[in-house]
Symmetry: C2
Subunit: 208 residues, 2 copies
């Protein structure tokens, strides 16, 4: 099915569409149009239909999309219909914030193991999950069958952590460290670079 290449931007939008559908009160209306979705998430209706068309025909012409069934399709495409174990590495302020982030919980994401190198933090618990020494990362992550590793460590050690995660057989890495990670191409990698986002904004200042 994934033989035709799906644009990254399309995948991101699928996730956004799905989150919007989550919020619709289906008692008011059980269907939704591409125009409606487009307006609500800030894209244009052509794009909504095009994005969906990569994966099949989910709507009814003249009527629209059934909210519940479309969302089920989207969740399935995003593989959110099955639980997935996630390892969080780096339990500093940012790691802490991620571990407790509502936006993850709402979409069904729960961290199944958490690592840090600070002896002060090791042994403490978050939502019933114990913080473990990063020395045991490879062992535990493999045991846990974590499919995703999240890196919220300092940039210096991020590459090393990434290597360990790959050894422990994660399939994907979400990296918050501001550094270019070199990893095997079969691992999917996504970088979230916070400073860069701020600098995008300062660039746009009209320097009077």
């Amino acid at each position: 099915m994934k033989s035709i290449k799906i644009p990254e931007a399309t995948i991101i939008r699928l996730s956004v569409y799905s989150r919007y559908l989550d919020k619709i009160d289906i008692r008011k209306s059980s269907t939704v149009s591409s125009d409606d979705i487009a307006q609500s998430v800030g894209v244009n209706p052509f794009q909504v239909r095009k994005d969906l068309a990569y994966f099949g025909e989910f709507g009814i012409r003249g009527v629209g999309y059934n909210v519940k069934s479309l969302n089920q399709h989207l969740l399935k495409l995003l593989n959110l219909n099955v639980k997935c174990n996630i390892a969080l590495v780096g339990f500093g302020k940012l790691g802490h914030a991620l571990a407790l982030y509502q936006g993850f919980k709402e979409r069904g994401f729960v961290f199944t193991c958490i690592f840090d190198s600070d002896p002060q933090k090791i042994g403490t618990k978050v939502n019933g999950v114990e913080v473990i020494s990063v020395d045991r990362l490879e062992e535990i992550v493999e045991q846990n069958h974590s499919r995703i590793g999240i890196i919220s460590t300092p940039a210096k050690v991020a590459q090393e952590i990434a290597n360990s995660l790959v050894k422990a057989r994660v399939q994907s890495i979400l990296n918050f460290a501001p550094v270019n990670l070199n990893i095997a191409p079969e691992i999917s990698l996504r970088n979230v670079d916070l400073a860069v986002n701020l600098e995008f904004l300062t660039f746009n200042f009209d320097d009077e």
Copy 2:
């Protein structure tokens, strides 16, 4: 100068290039080639040169770029040569993490005012900056001449906060709330959507 449209992706890369230049030890070599930069940040050398070419000629053919001078040019383009006041709204776990984030400090970003609605938090201090009631947002942000507002509140109130920030004359908004903000087009807006990044990764699972 900004009459020709600069791709967003280019602006993001300028920021990445600059951060890389920060890290180069110029005692070892005072110049750097587009190949070198490209390798280090994970893009291709054509792209580095093309990105820079939007703004001028910064290199010497046959030699490369002077590290220090190129970085100064980039910092100027990104308007990082002048301090800019930033308001942070929402001092939950995520806001807290952002306020203390090293990656911001390293690039010269400091938050000059912080807001929350929780009486428990109001009056506490972070790096010498007091958390203020969100009721006083418009007044204080305008007084402070904040050019950027960062929203790390729950999604429900994000639009309302955005409106207040715009009233208080910010020029840009960095939004962490998972919701589409409707704001005047002259305000530059950047969304950082954490859950969507995770779902990008789950999409790529090879569903065996």
